[in-house]
Amino acid sequence: MQRIGVFVCHCGTNIAATVDVEKVVEMVKKEQGVVHAEEYQYMCSEAGQSKIREAIKEKQLTGVVVCSCSPRMHENTFRKAAEKAGLNPFLVEIANIREHCSWIHKDREEATEKAVILARAAIAKVNLNTPLQAGESKVVKRALVIGGGIAGIQTAIDIADAGYEVDIVEKTPSIGGRMSQLDKTFPTLDCSACILTPKMVEAASYTYSEVEKVSGFVGDFFVDIRKKARSVDMSKCTGCGVCTEKCPSKKGKSEFNRGLSNRSAIYTPFAQAVPNVPVIDREQCTKFKTGKCGVCAKVCAAGAIDYEQKDEIITGNYGAIVVATGFDTISLDKFDEYSYNQSPDVITSLEFERLTNAAGPTKGKLVRLSNHEKPKSVAFIQCVGSRDVTCRGKSYCSKICCMYTAKHAMLIKDKYPDIDVHVFYIDVRTPGKNFDEFYRRAVEEYGVNYIKGQVGKVAEVDGHLLVQAVDMLDNKRIMLNVDMVVLATAIEPDPSVREIATMLTASIDTNNFLTEAHPKLRPVESPTAGVFLSGVCQGPKDIPETVAQAGAAAVKAIGLLAKDKLVTNPCVAKANELFCNGCSNCEHVCPYGAISYQDKEVNDHGVRETRRVAFVNSAICQGCGACTVVCPSGAMDLQGFSNRQILAEVDAICR
């Protein structure tokens, strides 16, 4: 026989103003199993909690019902109080008579009646509650970072600094990401490579690799990583570069230089690449295409070229995973009015970064790509595809272009004060430490001509570019002849993020940015336990913000790795082996992949036989209950929310 105590809270006037708490106490006393009932002004206070503890001890309670606010608020509080008094915490139930009752009702009598019904349901459930024990799962002390841009590198370094091992998986041949393509960076205008390269050398990684499969769960993930064949033996290569020089096939477009220069079939993306080991692009390589050539193997003194190398799959075991897959710029195919596909002198800002970079295809000399002459005037167009709600663009502000456009304008003026520079903008958005000052410098010190108005059309006329716009402040048409146009193209998440998110069951928003667990309070965690977010994969960001978020993601990962064991939720599904017919229905509906099958010897009323039965991995199960609904044999049940308990609640309500 159960001995249940019921505690009714006034919540100040939150509950007591609408619900007659004394009446509730009187009524619940009549319920089966109830041996104690009392009300108090604030049950969650220390005094309220001690009332619960005392009653448990004095009256030897076997179950507790607290009629109060939502369990979201104080379930934990009351469970802890019960535990202190020696009661299993899962024998505590909450009847929500605030959000579900007093707050939404005006009529005192009706509200009181409903409160009694809610209490009755909770009592009926507690009558059937059984003690549950929270399980434990292990934590593998190693983290995986997917994406080797500044976000991934910084997260990895921070985690490593705390003493944990970290691997980075980067799909291109070198880590560094977009930042390695930049020239100087706002707001300080220091050289991007100079601050990034030392960090690149610090972090160890799997480059030219991709994540292929993820299984397991928080604390204990298994990840298959495909190391794509470099065709170069990393342990032998000295990085001398002779092979790339001698390679006769030089028609490949350099991805690093955004197609502005060619590269050989065997290549290192850029001089400071980490690791400094080339890869063979098998699509471009004559040896792979025709079987002839083999020049690189002949010239390599270290004998590092290996045409036979195969992709390799490595399986790693990790406690935490950080996604840092970054971004790319959108395609301009739908923006014909800017003539990007028609004129070589219309370029994107990322291409501009390569053009103005001392290590870039023109050694930093700013030239028109049509005739390799220095331009006399340059127009920058902001918001190309950003803040655009049509099917052509992205509805969000890309956040970095106002600042990098000001940077580009100043870089030109610094090197070539005689070039006219115009910037077409809709709004200039420069919030950030020293950011607005930076933009004002472009205007006030460098004399960059800022024009408020979006450009309607860029046309090639007599070897020049004619920019057609309207000055919104003067309400005047502008027809501007320039030699070069630079488009601040909207950014979007790396296209691979969809696949990664699916593998990790991490959610993405309509724009493919990874979603946070809570936009304000948990901004660097994904809703999937053990998966963290770093950098632009979560939303547009500049480098300072990326680095800050990378550090935050690292701290969250470290917080997880520092634990020896994780406490698991005991309210998970469990299959009754005797009832289970192995039909696989539950496996198909489980959204978390928690169910597998085992061949098990069962003793069914004296008959011993081996059957295929469902097995729930309690560390993965989130207790959603989907499996219990589809099981045709009623074999699957959720602990703490069993079918019997739920029906008892329904019965109590309908009584």
């Binding site: 803040r387 309607g456 309207v470």
Partner: protein, 130 residues
Amino acid sequence: MQKANTEQAQLVKEISNVDTRKCMKCGKCSASCPSYEEMDIRPHQFVSYVQNNKVNELMESTSLWKCLSCFACVERCPRDVKPARLIEAVRLMVIRQKGQNYLLPDEVPELLDEEVPQQLLASAFRKYSK
């Protein structure tokens, strides 16, 4: 009799099915408009005028008869505002007030030359009807 301006503006919004609040005042519509120089109230201003209930001014404006209905503004507007639809709506209001067309279909060919854009044909009646 002219109706109160707010009522007129409501009518323009209903006829055109345009939500003027979506405009972010980027000016791309005007920057794309081939008739810009001819207009007294430019496409982006047109949107603001409706938003601010200044429809009587629009009904008097020459822009109504200079718009080519080429829809460049509609095509290019990043916020999907459709300024040409507003212009068309105000045009309709003026025409409905006057009651009849000035131009007969048979008269159109004489008035055309090779330079005249195709789109102009479509709105020719309405234009000359003022």
